[in-house]
Symmetry: C2
Subunit: 343 residues, 2 copies
Amino acid sequence: MASEFDLIARYFTRTAPTGLLGVGDDCALFPVPPGEQVATSTDLLLEGRHFFPDVDPKSLGHKALAVNLSDLAAMGARPIGCVLGLALPRLDEPWLAAFADGFHALAAVHGCPLIGGDTTRSAHDLAISVTVFGAVPANAALRRDGARAGDDIWVSGELGAADVAYRLLDGQYPADPERLAATRGALEWPEPQVPLGLALRGIAHAAIDISDGLLQDLGHILAASRVGAVLHEDRMPAAAALAGLPAQALRRAVLGGGDVYQLCFTAPAGRRDAVLAAARSAGARVTRVGGIVAREPAQDAMPAATRAGDTSAPAGAPRLVVLDATGQPLTQLPAGFDHFPGA
Amino acid sequence: MASEFDLIARYFTRTAPTGLLGVGDDCALFPVPPGEQVATSTDLLLEGRHFFPDVDPKSLGHKALAVNLSDLAAMGARPIGCVLGLALPRLDEPWLAAFADGFHALAAVHGCPLIGGDTTRSAHDLAISVTVFGAVPANAALRRDGARAGDDIWVSGELGAADVAYRLLDGQYPADPERLAATRGALEWPEPQVPLGLALRGIAHAAIDISDGLLQDLGHILAASRVGAVLHEDRMPAAAALAGLPAQALRRAVLGGGDVYQLCFTAPAGRRDAVLAAARSAGARVTRVGGIVAREPAQDAMPAATRAGDTSAPAGAPRLVVLDATGQPLTQLPAGFDHFPGA
């Protein structure tokens, strides 16, 4: 007879680092360095919505934490720890063991131990909530509202592979085992860019992680910073595994594809060397894909279809223009991801 | 067309207090007073498991936050803020508005503003995850492992009403509108004992909040503190609305009933006046219901059926004895709550 408490103890208790009170009291406790603030982010992941029911549980444990660490990365925060809520439709110990392995392995890489949690039984679906905590010196956080006209726009890593893997697994694209093998890692094992976020403190003006697609997420920076942007499609770091895709699918994957968990950030054009040095120190690849411009650079000259980013933006919202290889603005942009598309 | 982002903005964005970066960036940010630690707790609540599908959404918003604030109360932590994850099977704006009202109203009472969140669509059930943050001076937290032989055992508020309301609503008891009216508030509008937890700093040796039943939760204190306990059934602060229940139902409600969100705590017998003064200052009622004894006071003399608390306790676990009105130990105790009873 395994009780809920056994389960927690067996798979989710690790020896907490000094100063942290881990799983096993009403609250977990952790100290914060003097002069630093706490950065926190939470995600609720659901079977059938954010992952396939038959997903490898080890990769799911990895990804559940990775998407939250990616938010810390986008703030330039150093991970402190995390808490986990798990609602399980059944008690499947091999599944739990693999999930815990994937979770703890990534936690160890980034110094983000599990310090508390809640497990419960669900009626239907598996649900996973993760909340992460990090620390960042006051006023050093990379926010969304700091982009300025004249900034370069940068993207880390590669774009598009996760979108293609998702559509292959979902049956939207015809079966292509070779392409699936080349793209699946990007979907199931995203690598949060924590070292890059830390290295960009004091250099980047604004940052966000790409979870819903480059255009949509950059749109949040533009809205918060009240600026516009011009992107160059031919500078995008498309994943090599996308070669040979139809042009429309390629564009959708690169500009609109979600689940990327790379950083999009802006920095002054005068700091290009500093950006490249930061990326080198973090072991990250970064690509300059466009620039920030004053708000609504050519509002009247652009067709409405070039509006993107926050789909709920009111009239007069910041403008995002994507130029194709010939320098012409795209007249139709991939839509962003919306959890309530029919609403 | 309301997008997910509209929803968040409309119902869950409030002006964050100074120093807090609220909903709308990759992470929320908050400062922590020098010398204090962060206390955090997370809960994942599911439709059909933790609440009825037709529950009043305003009370659900209240309770989703209340159960987490109760964990801060049990640590003696002052609330700082919270984050919310919501998975909704459909977009029901009146429901959302009422849920948000209940949530924000309790947040305002306890100075625990919503500073971040995640909304998503679920395939079947409503799921709610809440994570709260509080602050407590280093070494002042009320933990589970501080109980000592000779301590009194105290309980705040009343016991049993939430259990009876739950069983009435669930159809386990015959319909009794009068008793339901008298008990339902305890189930749906629990009041977290945050002021009492703060007032008990420096007085209580150990504390826990009663979520799974007095015996089960006190069992966690006993296990963590490696002590035993003797409780007096006739001292229990049973809710007045329980009058007239069959003896077995009454006992089950008072000793085993969950969803109480009152505090169970221990304090030295020499600090009774201080406990009562702390309770007065917090506007709380407290009742002395028993005492802590050295571990396994009479291991061989007690029948196995008197073991309670952590049901997974190994042989030689701390002993919990409940004496009835005649001073005889109960030979059968209500079982604690286990989310995986069939496992």
